[in-house]
Amino acid sequence: MKDFSMSPSPRLDSLEDFPRGSSFPSFYITEKNAGWRVFRPVLDTQKCVGCGRCYLLCPDGAIHQESEKIFVIDYDFCKGCGICAQECKLGAISMRKEGEE
């Protein structure tokens, strides 16, 4: 998957590294936020036609457009709401319980 972060991650090793102020490019500090996901969406690339419906409807912007027809799910930010699976007209996305294959 492409690196979608819009600026390099800052090194925040000491208190002095922490900025004084809060005006920065978006995603200056990105923290993974997916810990409460119970079911994860799995995309069947054989069935997917690249319509982009899941990409448009994901409420968290956690589906990225890799190239014109290729979409990938970002599991660092996907909360597992299942909207993409519900909305996919081809049934190309299925929800699977975390911890199970």
Binding site: L12, F18, G21, S22, S23, F24, P25, E31
Partner: protein, 392 residues
Amino acid sequence: MNSYAFLNGNEAAAWGVRLCRPQVVAAYPITPQTKAVEKIAQFVQDGDLLCEYLHVESEHSAMSCSIGASSVGARTFTATSSQGLLYMAECLPYASGARLPIVMMNANRAIATPWNIYGDQMDMPYVLNSGWIQLFAENAQEALDLIIQSFRLGEDEKILAPVMVNLDGFVLTHTYEKVHIPSQEEVDAFLPAPKPRKHMMNDESPMSMCISAGNQHNLEFKIRQHRDLLPAEELFEGIDKEYEKAFGRGYGGALEGYRTEDAEHLLLATGSVCGTLRHMVDLLREERHSVGLVKMRMLRPFPVKRLGALCSGAKTLGVLDKNLSFGYEGTVFTNVNSALHQEGIPLRSYNFIGGLGGRDITRQDVRSMVRVLEESDKTTEKIHYLNVRCAL
């Protein structure tokens, strides 16, 4: 121009603002602050102050506009009071978190309900935790001087914090005094134009004004902000000394001790009532009472060590609060007791709540305070109310 004028507290603060040459003023009028922002508007209208004066529709917008202006590096001033301060409260930590050195005058006024437009300090404790430096003026001259000192303090690159300058509503904002107005050249020399800061917004490289920092980074941001505020106390003292050299008036930095050296009993207060207390200390000294005054000019950051040093020789301390935290006590009292405890000062402290909703604090009230302190062996009650009109 280097002259004297007959000004009330509002006008004196407005003169202080004019001399600081702010680039943006965004304000919404509210009693008893109105005369201050009207006076600034007049300066702008007459061409005496070159700045963008924004007529906003509310205090929330006044602070939001101030944040926007300060975020591109403009020297920014606003003013409010009471309910207006509460309405802008949501925006205050945005200003401090973004490290924007906005200066704001707050005309201390009662909080509804019951509705009341007169002066007390019930509004200030609501925003004590907002990350703003909190300062208090005793008289109109100090209000003018404190505005100038505040821009120097907040804009210092070691600090970068917004500053709230408290003026007691009516007693200070509407009372006229002879005030010295320094010359523009002198103030320009004391307060240079604001320097560009890091993390300023600009057209060329747009940024988000408020990045998020979740549970993995948030704590360190807050610790940094807290620690950066602490040196403001010492810096304020240095600025005050430098101000005294330049203008002939010094106030003692975060705290002033008045006849405290050999005093057994100390009175402590913030704001204009210190004038009454100072007068009463002189009077009571003539009557051989061993009293002194601690005037707190700064509540945030809190001058723990300086307070401890001032109080170390006293037997008792009476803290006059023009506010009441329902269900506990006056907020200055809480803060003072914590500092004394940290410094290991074993004196007995008492809380005097007075002046709420504009109630007078009289010479007789000060005598009753001193009586409580002098008879502290017999006094178990910690909280006393001044000038009450019925039995409690």
